[in-house]
Every structure is written in C-alpha cells, then in structure tokens.
C-alpha cells in the first residue's frame, strides 16, 4: 500500500517536473524589453522616490544615466541613444542638485562623443545653456561647448560668436577669451574673428607684459590680425564697415 502511494507521489512529481520543463521552454524566449535610454522621471516622481534625501536619489540617478545602455553585458553605440530623452534627464537632474557639475561635465566629455551632428549640437546647446546661467563660474564648460561646436557641429559660427562674446565679459584667463576668435578664424568667418580679437586685445586686464602666457597670446593675436590684414584690405574694410 505504502509503495503504491509513494509511486503515485513520484508520478505526480515527474508530471509536474515535465510540465515545468514545458513552461520553461515556452517562456525562455521571453526577455525583458531593454530600454537604452530610460524614461526621465517627473518632478512628482523625484519627490516621491527621494524618501526625503534628494541628494542620495540624485547620485543614484546620475549612475543610472551614466551607465544607461551599458548594463547586463550590453553595449550600445551613442547613435542608438535618444538624445531628446537624455536632455530631459540632464535638466531633471540639474533641478535636483544645483551645485553639482556632474551632469554638464558628463554630457560634455562623455555623451558628446557621438558621430551625429544633430546629437552633438544638442549636447553643445545643453552645455552652453547650463553654463550661460552663471558664465563666470562655468567658463570652462563654455570653452568645452565651443570646442564641441568647432569640432563636431559644422556651420555653428553664430553659436561660437555668441559664446565668445559671453566669455569676453568674464574675469577669466586670456586664452579662454581668445578661443572663440581662433575657432572663428579657422572656420573662415574672418569678420567675426577680427571683431572678437580686437575686443580681446582692448582689454586692459589681460595685457600684462609679465605674464608669459598672456604675452604669447597677445603675440599670437597680433599675428592673427596681421594675417587677416594680409588677406586683403577689402576684407578689413568690409569687416570695419560691418
């Protein structure tokens, strides 16, 4: 009798085990949908998720966005990322912590490495917008935005000129003030470059003869002016007339 009962149990176990194997075969192809760029949280969600400690949530979310697309052994090209969502992420995170520069630096030095003019422009725009709120504090970010525009976004002379003008009004090293002028000259916008160079050299604070770096820059700027003049009087007259 006992043997018979034991056998029944054994049979049921085997049946359920076989059924479990069938379920597994039916389910093993179902994989979680992997989102490269997760959906950014809303302000209400941030409030609710923070449990009172927004700084901790900020640091957790920063990690999430830093490693977005590179989890569970999967790696993706930046071209596959949704940069519109990323921008919303950046702005949401900047709203949580206004002190930290983590997000703009991550955007400028990590997410800007993308082979897409449109996406590079989005990143440069974000960095420039962020830094423009306090240009004296974030002038390094502004120079980084200049570099992204110059190297990755063709025909961005207007943006470079606007940042160059903003940098001219700050108390910052001379090279940072002159950077936009050099970039514009390389881009071929002679008039804009000339205009910025003339403004840089007018600045009394940076014309210290004792500073080797400043002296070098002044010499370079003067050389640039001479080069520009050599390109023809018509160009200079044209620029002066503008």
């Amino acid at each position: 009798m006992k043997i018979a009962k034991f056998s029944k149990v054994k049979i049921w176990i085997i049946i359920f085990f076989v059924a479990q194997i069938c379920v597994w075969f039916a389910a093993h192809t179902i994989k979680p949908k992997y989102i490269i760029t997760p959906f950014p949280p809303t302000k209400t969600e941030i409030e609710a998720m923070s449990f009172g400690d927004k700084q901790l949530l900020f640091r957790i979310l920063v990690f999430k966005i830093q490693n977005a697309g590179d989890a569970v052994g999967q790696y993706h090209n930046f071209n596959e990322y949704d940069y519109n969502k990323l921008r919303t992420w950046f702005e949401a995170l900047d709203g949580i912590d206004t002190h930290s520069e983590y997000i703009p630096y991550m955007a400028a030095y990590y997410y800007s490495i993308v082979h897409s003019v449109e996406k590079s422009k989005m990143i440069a725009n974000y960095v420039a917008d962020y830094a423009s709120a306090d240009p004296q504090r974030h002038w390094r970010l502004l120079t980084t935005a200049l570099y992204i525009y110059k190297t990755q976004v063709p025909h961005s002379e207007n943006e470079i000129y606007a940042i160059g003008e903003l940098l001219l009004r700050q108390k910052i090293p001379m090279w940072a003030k002159a950077l936009a002028a050099f970039f514009l000259k390389e881009s071929g916008d002679i008039c804009a470059s000339y205009e910025l160079i003339m403004q840089v050299t007018k600045d009394d604070e940076i014309s210290s003869e004792d500073n080797v770096q400043d002296r070098f820059l002044i010499e370079t700027l003067n050389a640039n002016i001479e080069q520009l003049k050599k390109r023809g009087r018509s160009v200079m007259n044209e620029c002066d007339g503008k």
Partner: protein, 255 residues
C-alpha cells in the same frame, strides 16, 4: 534596582546578541562597498562615496536597531524574562527608560565611530560642523525609530508584525514631505479627493517629518543647514511622546 543597573543589563544583552559588533561590521563593509561604487563615477568621486555611505549608514542604523529592539522585546515576553525583571521593585517606566538609554549609548558610540571614519577618509571634503549636525540627526532619527519599534513590539508582542508596522511608519514618515505637498496642491481643485485629503491630514499629524533628517547633501556642501530648529524640536517632542505611549501601554499590560 535603578534605571542605570537596568541599562547595564540591557547593554549586556546587546553584547550577548553581538549587536554592536554586527552593526559595526555592517557599517564598515557598507562603507567599503560605497567607496567602491563611488569610485566608478566619472566625476565627483568623493562626493559619490560620501553620499552613498551616508545613505546606507542611515538604513543600517534604522533597520539594525529596529530589528534588535523588536526581537529583544518580544523575546523578553516569550522567555518570561520581563516577569523576572519586574518581580523586583522596578517601576515599568524604568524598564522602558533603560531600554531607550541603552539604545542611545549604542547608537551614539556607533555614530561617533562612523563620523570619525568619514572625517578620517574625507578630511578635506566634509565640513566638521555639518558632519556633527548630520551625526546628531542620525542619532535622533534612529532614536525615533527605536521608540516606535518598542511601542509596536510592546503592543503586538510579535517581532514580525512590529517590524512590518515600523517599516510602514518609517516609509510614511520619510515621504511625509511629498504627502503634505501633494495634499496642498490638490486642495486647490474641487474634487472627491478633498474627502481623502481631510482623512490624510489628521493621520499625517501623528507622523514625524523624518524627510528633513540626515540629508546627505549636508556632508558634501558647506551651505547653511535648513530646518535645523524643526529637526531639533521634532526630536525633543516625538521621542518623549512615544516613550510616554510605551509607558502607558506597558503599565496596562497584565503580566
């Protein structure tokens, strides 16, 4: 038997349960894990490490001491240890007071250790005044949770239920700021939610504003700490309130 003798006895029980060294071990391991995770950040690595460490420390303190108290109190009931203690000329309030005092001693020692650890490792980053306030805030937050766990454990005499209620209480207290702001926002409209709001508001009054306590940002930025008076007042009001509730409940118990 005075309260200090009882405190000594509870501290011996804590030593028997290895609570101090278990907590210290957990805190040190979590600190090392935080340092490792923080070091994988692209920028602001020290800030990452400090914030992760402080966040994990808070959870370890709150849950470590909640679990210790929930199990310690229910075990005292189950083993009839409490009856043995109360057989002597000991007022019931002294037992609760001693429990609180013993917890305070343990929490303070551990908080001092981790504050020293944080200051030692991140000497240049963490402002001393802010670290002191953060440490004090952690002590207050943990003491509030210890008191509430003691209340639930005395009321329910069951460790699992006491822990579940403590968890619900802690989560609700931690999102109280969000709840209050949501209520204020919805009050502007006219809807059936108003009924719910009038129900939530009186309940919310009984919860402390733990969302203001122990902010990680205090440790990395040297800004003025907001709501410091509220935090101090909340602790000075809520801990004695729950202590008295424990005393009333314990006095009513038939042992």
């Amino acid at each position: 038997m005075n309260s200090f003798v009882l405190t000594g006895y509870i501290l011996k029980c804590a030593k028997r349960d290895k609570i101090f060294f278990s907590m210290l071990g957990a805190l040190i391991v979590s600190f090392l894990v935080s340092c490792f995770i923080g070091s994988t950040a692209a920028y602001e690595q020290s800030q990452m490490q400090i914030v992760y460490a402080s966040g994990i420390f808070r959870i370890i303190f709150v849950y470590g001491f909640a679990i210790f108290n929930a199990f310690f109190i229910t075990k005292m009931f189950q083993t009839r240890e409490i009856e043995t203690l109360l057989a002597g000329p000991v007022p019931r309030s002294s037992l609760i007071f001693s429990l609180m005092l013993a917890n305070f001693v343990l929490i303070s020692l551990l908080v001092l250790t981790i504050a020293g650890l944080l200051k030692g490792v991140f000497f240049d980053v963490i402002p001393t005044t802010h670290l002191t306030i953060w440490a004090g805030s952690i002590v207050c937050e943990t003491m509030i949770i210890v008191a509430i766990t003691a209340l639930f454990a005395l009321m329910l005499e069951n460790a699992t239920s006491a822990m579940l209620f403590t968890t619900m209480f802690y989560i609700t207290s931690r999102i109280m700021g969000f709840i209050v702001s949501s209520i204020t926002l919805k009050m502007q409209g006219v809807s059936i939610q108003k009924v719910l709001e009038f129900l939530i508001m009186p309940i919310a009054v009984f919860f402390p504003r733990l969302d203001l306590f122990s902010q990680s940002s205090w440790l990395i930025y040297g800004d003025a700490i907001p709501n410091l008076t509220i935090i101090a007042m909340q602790s000075l009001v809520y801990i004695p309130l729950i202590f008295l509730a424990c005393v009333i409940d314990f006095n009513k118990k038939v042992l």
